[in-house]
């Protein structure tokens, strides 16, 4: 993260827990910048912006880093890297399958390729190329996709990847990471550069509240416990971490002790923390801006069913497509608000 975010008000949060403030920011009604949740004490940053900055920094440190894009470098923010390192940037044009193959070839010569485009095209259009080459041969290629989930907003269902986590999680050798905010995104990019093997990173388009503490250190496969609750625990990833923190505060006011666990690495899942959360509360709620089938919710259910069965409720897109509209309205329409989490926790506790 560059100085820009600092100027906009990112600051240390001692408790690591975001405090809800008075409400939605109305400073900017542009759909691309409309904040998705309350909170916002730590400012708002789109994870794709954090990626652009982190990638540029990484490029300065490591000469083997090469970046590939498929005509969306302005949107994925790889253009920042391209501007400074044009000789290490390859625009492959509107051809995602070729993007993946070319990145694979570069990795075979010892380069460290980051291949970026929108999540729906990267994981959908080029899924088989990822399977046949990157996953099968366990190549050191980093697939960093932006514009995941319904918060792509106005572009509608064709551009809203709601199945990408599932598509990547099912591939052997693949690590799947869903950062919650800008701070975590920066950490993730640094961490995966030091890790040899294929990684999928899921980033978003819209600005999201900064929730992770400045001193946070991301480790692949490790969850971050904001709080472990006695009544219920919400395991969330991506932008739903911020939403879950709002829900936690709302539940607290009603005397319900709900915890929030940020699970950035969906694969490999932090099994120990999942068990700890299940043991502490007996009710698990998963929250993700993704289909409830096969993503974080699926991963948690699969693990708990076999190892520590407790009731689980999944918050996510319920086996349907998205549609056009402003991000915040879509979050309401698809049941991804703090109120939806509060209601789900209460329903879970009634049984």
């Amino acid at each position: 993260m560059g100085s820009r975010e600092k100027k906009s008000g990112v600051r240390s949060q001692e408790s690591g827990v975001k405090t809800p403030n008075s409400g939605l920011s109305t400073q900017n009604l542009n759909p691309t910048t409309t904040p998705l949740t309350k909170g916002g004490k730590g400012g708002f940053v789109a994870t794709r912006d954090a990626y652009g900055d982190a990638l540029l920094e990484l490029g300065k440190k490591r000469k083997e880093v090469v970046v590939l894009d498929a005509d969306l470098s302005g949107s994925t923010k790889t253009a920042k890297f391209a501007k400074v390192f044009p000789e290490r940037f390859f625009n492959i044009g509107i051809s995602e399958q070729d993007l993946i193959g070319t990145a694979s070839g570069l990795s075979l010569t010892g380069k460290l390729p980051f291949a970026s485009t929108f999540a729906v095209f990267e994981t959908g259009r080029a899924w088989e190329q990822i399977r046949q080459t990157i996953s099968y041969s366990s190549l050191n290629v980093k697939l960093v996709a932006t514009h995941s989930g319904i918060t792509v907003a106005e572009d509608g269902a064709s551009h809203q990847a709601i199945e990408d986590i599932t598509l990547m999680r099912v591939l052997p050798n693949m690590t799947v990471i869903v950062p919650a905010d800008g701070i975590e995104t920066k950490q993730v990019i640094e961490a995966i550069a030091d890790f040899y093997g294929p990684v999928y990173v899921r980033l978003g388009r819209s600005k999201v509240p900064v929730v992770m503490p400045d001193a946070y250190k991301f480790t692949i496969g490790k969850a971050y416990k904001f709080h472990v609750g006695k009544d219920a625990n919400i395991i969330a990833a991506g932008i739903m971490v911020s939403v879950s923190l709002d829900a936690m505060e709302m539940l607290k006011k009603e005397g319900i002790d709900a915890g929030v666990i940020n699970m950035p690495t969906v694969k490999p899942l932090d099994n120990d923390t999942v068990v700890e959360a299940a043991r502490a509360s007996g009710l698990i709620v998963t929250a993700e801006e993704h289909s409830v089938i096969g993503g974080l919710g699926g991963a948690v259910c699969e693990f708990l069913a076999e190892n520590y069965p407790v009731p689980v409720k999944r918050i996510g897109i319920k086996d349907t497509f998205g549609c056009s509209g402003p991000s915040d309205e879509l979050m309401k329409l698809y049941g991804l608000t703090a109120e939806d989490i509060v209601r789900t926790v209460k329903e879970g506790l009634k049984k």
């Binding site: 090469v66 000789e87 290490r88 390859f90 492959i92 044009g93 051809s95 399958q97 070729d98 993946i100 193959g101 070319t102 990145a103 694979s104 070839g105 570069l106 990795s107 075979l108 010569t109 010892g110 380069k111 390729p113 088989e128 190329q129 046949q132 080459t133 099968y136 041969s137 366990s138």
Partner: protein, 280 residues
Amino acid sequence: MSQASAAKDIAFLKEQANAVRIEILKMLAEAGSGHTGGSLSAADMATALYFSKMRHNPKDPAWKERDRFILSKGHAAPLLYTVLALSGYFDKSLLKTLRKIGSPLQGHPCSKLLPGVEISTGSLGQGLSIANGIAMGLKMGGMNSRVYCLLGDGETQEGQVWEAAMTAAHYRLDNVCAIIDNNGLQIDGPCCDVMALEPITEKWDAFGWHVIDIDGHNMKAIIGALNEAEGIKGKPTMIVARTVKGKGVSFFEGKVQYHGVTPTQEELKKALEELGENGK
């Protein structure tokens, strides 16, 4: 190279191609499944590459300065395995394990299991993109190694091939030399009936490639084309090799049914006789 030594080289390569065909047929008969026709049609090109043109070191498959070979038509795995074995990457006896449990010789090439295989292939249309990426990486590293990529003709029906065709020309990858094994047949029948490919040379020319059209069984023409490609600067080269599916065995030649069918013991005996091997 003098004319006499060049002629000697060609004679040696022809003999070597014959030996490659013999091993392909033996291993396929032993395996009982696999792709016969397309392995035989491309045998002369692979022989020219592995036994003459390519700089490689079987004792050090990861040698940085090596030329690379990507078998985009991964179903011709028996051909790749044979040229690797005869080059000395592994013992020839391993060829008998093709497609068997625990064998590094998978039905389609697997780079994790077999040194010498640059990258796993098998799903068509993907090898040229990988070859381009390698070529870019080599150029960035200041290496003058070349990247060879063998495609099937039917394979070029895959859209990704044309994405890669644009990329190689756009980035002026003159260290890429692709070869199309134009045997004219695919699983469901003649390519011209299934999905017409012609005019092949004009297509690649239009995509910005240097195109060389040759008889893919004429060893002198193959070596000549590979040499010509090396001298082309600023654009990639495509060698369109006109071949015969099942080449070398009279009763397999031009027969679409031998795409994915292996010789019976009876057929193997006859085939080996035709190739001058006494059914050992």
